[in-house]
């Protein structure tokens, strides 16, 4: 039971890393990506191949997975962002990109096609995933509060005005995309070394959609919001396992309910913080005393 719970937590954390990455892109520049599973897959395969075939050190492989994803992020981002594709066109471009990567993985020699890579060393443990999550959250937070993060918000709110203020639209968008791709790649690397078997069909557009749903439901413009949403989305199907097939219905209902009752997402553009939690608790207490 304990290993089952720690397994779910590890799983959630891996997806949190990918979702936080996507939040930096979609949440802060306003461009939707429907192909983020591709970055996840690229990271998983790069890291997996390195440890499986070449006995590379796990951490090195993980970093390489992130780096490779970032590189591919530049490759896909350069033409699409340079052309200033608007949101829906960009989303379709990423959709195509996601599928293209999956097909590529199915047909390459080194990825062993649809057979996948069985027996990748299981290096990802709960502490490893937790450690990486903390680092990613910390870097994401710093990014958002940096000059680039603020510029990204300005771009999301009104890109013409942002350009008039002297913001380099292309640079800001590409930077967030690359950061988000790196996060996706690292998450993929952790995933590969957690489940120790990967195959292309694990990285379909379903995964991309799930990540995007987490970001939207968690709140565009928040980092902790999507993180919380991811955990909820992973935990709920597990908690409801007793309800067998009905759990997927519950999952769908939850998504609809969030969008209807909180269209701005669980946290909106706010962040979860210790100070905020404290304030909320004291407010509750004060209200309680008031009533008492």
């Amino acid at each position: 039971m304990l290993s089952y719970i720690s397994g779910i937590i590890t799983f959630s954390l891996i997806y949190v890393i990918a979702a936080v990455g996507l939040a930096i892109f979609t949440g802060f520049t306003g461009l939707f990506s429907l192909g983020h599973a591709a970055f996840f897959a690229i990271g998983a395969y790069t890291a997996g191949i390195l440890t499986y075939f070449y006995d590379v050190n796990f951490w090195l492989a993980l970093a390489s997975g992130g780096a490779m994803s970032g590189l591919v992020g530049i490759l896909i981002g350069y033409p699409t962002l340079k052309a200033k594709l608007r949101s829906d066109y960009f989303a379709i471009a990423t959709l195509g990109f996601g599928e293209a990567v999956r097909v590529l993985l199915e047909n390459l020699e080194i990825t062993q096609g649809a057979r996948g890579l069985p027996g990748i060393p299981a290096e990802t443990t709960l502490p490893v995933a937790a450690g990486v999550t903390v680092i990613v959250l910390w870097v994401a937070r710093n990014f958002v509060h940096s000059r680039y993060g603020r510029a990204a918000v300005a771009v999301r709110e009104d890109f013409v005005a942002a350009e008039m203020m002297g913001i380099n639209l292309f640079q800001v968008r590409l930077l967030s995309l690359v950061f988000s791709a790196i996060c996706g790649g690292v998450a993929g690397g952790l995933f590969a070394h957690y489940v120790s078997f990967i195959q292309p069909s694990m990285f379909t557009s379903y995964l991309s959609t799930q990540l995007t749903a987490s970001v939207v439901a968690g709140g565009m413009g928040s980092i902790t919001g999507p993180a919380v949403a991811t955990v909820i989305f992973i935990a709920i199907p597990e908690v409801l396992r007793v309800a067998s097939m009905w759990r997927l219905v519950a999952y769908g209902l939850l998504l609809v309910a969030i969008m209807v009752f909180r269209p701005q997402g669980l946290l909106g553009f706010r962040e979860l913080s210790w100070a905020g939690v404290k304030r909320w608790l004291t407010l509750g207490k004060a209200a309680g005393q008031g009533r008492g």
Partner: protein, 235 residues
């Protein structure tokens, strides 16, 4: 200061500007007058680097103007876009600070904020208010102030009188003159032809992408064609 020659701009198949030439002398106000769809905004956006020219040349201080908006701003040309485009969910003060995005001199920025409060006393009262809650005229003032925060040497104003009450229009134009007197050159695109021509040193009239008349503001005010077509004065 700015010299445009033979400028052509296209939106796909549509020819928005044909062979437009324009000279802007330092310290002057240049008015670009014309009806809806004449190409005024296109001209402004092209100078600001948001649209690529299909042909022609834009020289700024004898050098070709860069083609990216952020580079153009760095050279000292700032566009106050049509419909103001303020950040509605930021306060007025934050909007003004956004204008100084490329600047790093904290002291200069603070001094310029003070300068803006003097130039636009109404903004001083509204500093902590969200920009979206301002009236149209106040928003226009805030947009101009935001543009000035980048310390441009050339300010492009695209339809600053759009949607404003007549009294507010007077106010905005008065401020435009003050800005020029403080040393910023201005190119003003306006449908409000009479006011714009009366205050302009030089002016041109655009019609379906072509310059049909150009000259000093005073000349154009007295030009029979302009009087008839744009000022509604019959002979």
């Amino acid at each position: 200061m700015l010299e445009i020659s033979g400028l052509q701009v296209k939106y796909g198949e549509i020819h928005a500007l044909r062979d437009v030439s324009l000279k802007v002398r330092a310290g002057s106000i240049v008015a670009v007058v014309g009806a809806n769809g004449a190409g005024k905004s296109t001209l402004m956006l092209t100078i600001a680097g948001l649209l690529p020219p299909a042909a022609g040349q834009i020289l700024y201080e004898a050098k070709p103007l860069p083609r990216q908006a952020y580079e153009v701003l760095a050279r000292g040309i700032c566009l106050v876009p049509e419909r103001r485009r303020l950040y509605a969910n930021l306060t007025v003060r934050e909007n003004l600070l956004m204008g100084a995005f490329l600047r790093r001199d904290q002291k200069g920025i603070r001094a310029d904020l003070e300068r803006m409060y003097k130039l636009f006393p109404i903004l001083h009262e509204r500093l902590k208010q969200y920009a979206g809650t301002l009236s149209g005229g106040e928003q226009q003032m805030a947009a101009i102030a935001r543009g000035l925060m980048s310390r441009p040497r050339l300010l492009l104003l695209d339809e600053p009188s759009l949607g404003l009450a007549p009294l507010m229009v007077q106010n905005v134009f008065k401020t435009v003159r003050e800005i020029r007197d403080q040393g910023t050159t201005i190119v003003l695109a306006e449908q409000n032809a009479f006011e714009a021509l009366a205050m302009a040193d030089d002016a041109l009239v655009l019609e379906t992408g072509r310059v049909i008349v150009a000259g000093s503001g005073r000349d154009l005010l007295n030009d029979p064609l302009v009087r008839k077509a744009y000022l509604g004065i019959k002979h």
